[in-house]
């Protein structure tokens, strides 16, 4: 989109009235265009006051209780006091070689957590094997590319090796139309492997970045995918991630992105 076309979208952008792809185009433009965009601030400055026009309405009394309970549960899984919680939003694989500190995790009750960790490893492996069979057959038939199929199988084997461990979780990955399918596993110790097929090749400095989203927290980058024979993969320690967290992948203009560039090309939820 041109600078002028982006300006045309300013009012809808600040009001939140764009489709996801348009909104993303505006974001990318604002991040990369050197020209000033005063219209965005000018129009955007009015938007917060719109809410002032509403008569305040009291929510039910038990909403406070629900929120405070969920927040208290959060504390149980937060990093220890003094841990650099703020690093979670800014850590990149480059400047954080150790496992990144995650934002406070989604509320998971003690009981649920115990059940999760106690789930037998064979159940995970069985689930992973089914996923492999389905995805493998689908991919080979679709692509008919033996080298890619072999590379895919090799990396799926790494994923399965982690999935077999006690306390691991797996995610079946796919784009919104079922494309870019793959598999990810995260071990109890944070060791992770993920593999995807069908991603568009990158050009120039572009990379595919993996993100972890814990609960409703902002996505945290965990590493760039390597590409070989049309297969994208990542093997590295990503830190402990609670079940129910989402692993998502985006194509970034270059390495080291701190916030994802939409659209999400593939994603999946970690489950035990």
């Amino acid at each position: 989109m041109t600078h002028d076309e982006i300006l045309e979208l300013a009012a809808a952008y600040v009001l939140g009235a764009l489709e996801g792809s348009e909104e993303q185009a505006v974001r990318e433009h604002l991040a990369t265009c050197d020209l000033p965009h005063p219209e965005f601030e000018e129009l955007g400055s009015v938007v917060p006051v719109l809410a002032e026009a509403l008569e305040p309405v009291e929510p039910s009394a038990d909403l406070r209780e629900r929120i405070m309970r969920a927040a208290a549960r959060d504390l149980e899984v937060r990093p220890a006091p003094g841990a650099p919680a703020s690093a979670a939003g800014t850590a990149t694989p480059a400047d954080a070689p150790t496992a990144p500190a995650y934002p406070p995790a989604a509320p998971v009750s003690r009981d649920r957590r115990r059940r999760f960790w106690a789930r037998p490893a064979w159940a995970l492996t069985a689930a992973a094997a089914v996923a492999l069979a389905v995805l493998g057959v689908w991919n080979v038939r679709l692509q008919g590319d033996l080298a890619a199929a072999q590379a895919y199988r090799d990396h799926v084997e790494q994923v399965l090796a982690i999935a077999r461990q006690q306390g691991s979780a797996i995610a079946i990955l796919a784009g919104d139309q079922g494309q870019n399918a793959g598999l990810a596993a995260v071990g109890a110790d944070g060791a992770a492997a993920m593999v995807l097929r069908g991603l568009q090749p990158t050009t120039g400095s572009q990379v595919y970045e993996a993100w972890v989203i814990v609960g409703n927290s902002a996505p945290v980058p965990v590493g760039e995918l390597s590409m070989r024979d049309g297969v994208a993969y990542l093997t590295q320690n990503v830190g402990k991630i609670p079940p129910g967290s989402t692993i998502a992948f985006t194509k970034e203009p270059g390495p080291g992105s701190k916030a994802p560039t939409l659209p999400v090309v593939s994603a999946g939820k970690l489950a035990g």
């Binding site: 764009l18 026009a53 405070m68 703020s86 979670a88 409703n216 999400v264």
Partner: protein, 213 residues
């Protein structure tokens, strides 16, 4: 983007925000009572926005819960230079409420993949507010000062979560007209609320490019 003088005209010093920022610091440190304090200060505004957009009491409460837990978990990500804590918090509420209603409308394209919490990926930029001290009457008067079609377009966008395309279809109005109604409406409100002096120098804010056809 804007010159600092214009920015400071837009954002007068605000003692309430200083208190909010202190509160947010304690939230980042994991202090539950600070979250309760923030909740008590903004629960009714948050809920009124959410309820207006979702028109569903249960969903509206879920959205508010989501938004406050989002603030609880991401307090350290708030950037003081980008606007007040109140603006930040209420924009989270607004975005989550819009996402919630769009998820119920299959025709609307959602950002990202369905399994990804959309808000985590589309956390709004936070805009400097016109003024923290505006009261309801002043804002309503500014809204009332708009033409009916401008007000309607802004309401459908901001309070109903419609996209500009959906507004165009629903009101049987060309998309270009919807765009200029929203734009001219916001500019008119700004003029009413802060006066002409705040317009950014060197940028044409009126002109024939987008008149309300």
């Amino acid at each position: 983007m804007t010159d600092p003088a214009a920015a400071s005209r837009l954002r007068p010093a605000n003692p309430a925000d200083a208190a909010d920022q202190a509160c947010l610091k304690r939230i980042a440190g994991g202090q539950l009572d600070a979250l309760e304090e923030l909740y008590d200060r903004y629960r009714s505004m948050a809920y009124s926005i959410s309820l207006r957009i979702t028109a569903d009491a249960t969903l509206a409460e879920d959205v508010v819960q989501d938004a406050f837990l989002g603030a609880w978990r991401n307090a350290e990500r708030y950037a003081a230079g980008r606007g007040s804590v109140k603006t930040w918090l209420l924009s989270i509420v607004h975005h989550r409420a819009v996402d919630a209603v769009r998820r119920r409308r299959p025709t609307t394209e959602l950002p990202g993949h369905e399994q990804v919490p959309p808000l985590a990926l589309t956390l709004p930029d936070v805009w400097p507010e016109v003024s923290a001290g505006l009261d309801r009457e002043a804002v309503r008067a500014a809204l009332d000062g708009l033409s009916d079609v401008q007000r309607h377009a802004i309401e459908l966008a901001y309070f109903r979560g419609l996209t500009q395309q959906e507004i165009s279809e629903r009101t049987d109005t060309p998309l270009g007209t919807v765009k200029s109604r929203m734009r001219l409406g916001l500019l008119a409100m700004r003029r009413t609320l802060v006066g002409d002096g705040s317009e950014v120098e060197g940028y044409p804010t009126g002109g024939s490019r987008e008149t309300d056809r």
